[in-house]
Amino acid sequence: MNRVPMEGKVLNENARVAAELRERFQEHRVFVVNLISSPGSGKTTLLEKTLETLPKDTRVAVLTGDLQTENDADRLKRYGFPVKQIVTGGTCHLDARMIEKHIADWKLSELDLLIVENVGNLVCPSSYDLGEAAKIVLLSVTEGEDKPLKYPSIFFKSELMVLTKTDLLPYVPFNTEAAIANARRVHPGMEVVKVSCMAGDGLREWMTWLEQRRQKHLSTLSQPVG
């Protein structure tokens, strides 16, 4: 018997498609973010507020994922920007192939920002690269402040944690400092924005973060390769 070394990557099909998407997004200078959270943390509501606030000539599009229904897309379409629903059927996460399929009839050269709202799930989306520039994790104050420790993978991989529903803080035992400390144990330097869509708090900080991060992304694209 003879053992021979083998080289090369075991091709992860999703990683391959995601890499292709990333190249296309970079080529057309589209800044793509992947919003991830438990079901009910407020992703769609945050997106509604975002689309409501953005200037009408903003070149933004949204892909929103769910197992069933077009409910989220219906809500988001009201603001006049291109929105598509990805119905996964049963799959608990979006994957690169789904993104590729759903952007097929969009012209990437006409977009500056693509927001992907993932299926409500703090586990599986962490493993599926969609070609995005940044993952963003949402955590609502009705959840436990130890969530970052329980689900370290997604907090480790996300650049920003958005603490949502802060208007409920007087009524829930949520410890904001502990939640932020826990997130920073798993991800030192994790950026945090606190929002209440109902009260309108923190939305300006969220929009500023998004735009500044987009500019930072564009500036990395301008740098020469190698």
Binding site: P5, M6, K9, V10, N12, E13, S127, Y128, H187
Partner: protein, 129 residues
């Protein structure tokens, strides 16, 4: 989940390697998978068994080395294993560290047998002499 696709990729890699070595039979394939690759070990071995059943690869064994993520400390330039997502450097305590591995999915080795080594063919040779 995606473990079935990964098992399939492993088999494609083995088939490609065998294509370069006519007359060989694959006995065991070794791969390295980072703990952050999001691969469930049980799902992978289940998927591998399901795909190889009743095929030419039915007796092919899969050996997986799961490796922890590694980071490098920028100030002291030393590498360390990342345990429990604790990203501070165990040598100097700095938090200024960067992860250098942990989501790899790589081939390591392939154990081969010459087809003439198989007992069946040996018996045939003895019978004909």
């Amino acid at each position: 989940m995606h473990e079935l696709g990964i098992a399939n990729s492993i088999l494609e890699g083995v088939a490609a390697e065998l294509g370069r070595r006519p007359g060989s039979r694959a006995v065991r394939v070794g791969v390295r998978i980072g703990q952050l690759a999001g691969v469930d070990p049980d799902a992978l071995s289940f998927g591998f068994e399901a795909l190889t059943l009743d095929t030419e690869f039915a007796s092919l064994k899969l050996e997986v080395e799961y490796v922890p993520p590694r980071s490098r400390c920028r100030p002291c330039n030393r590498e360390f294993e990342l345990r429990n997502y604790e990203v501070f450097c165990p040598h100097c305590g700095s938090l200024d560290t960067e992860r250098i591995s942990g989501d790899e999915l790589e081939f390591k080795y392939l154990e081969l047998e010459e087809e003439s080594e198989s007992p069946q063919l040996e018996t045939k040779r003895v019978a004909s002499s």
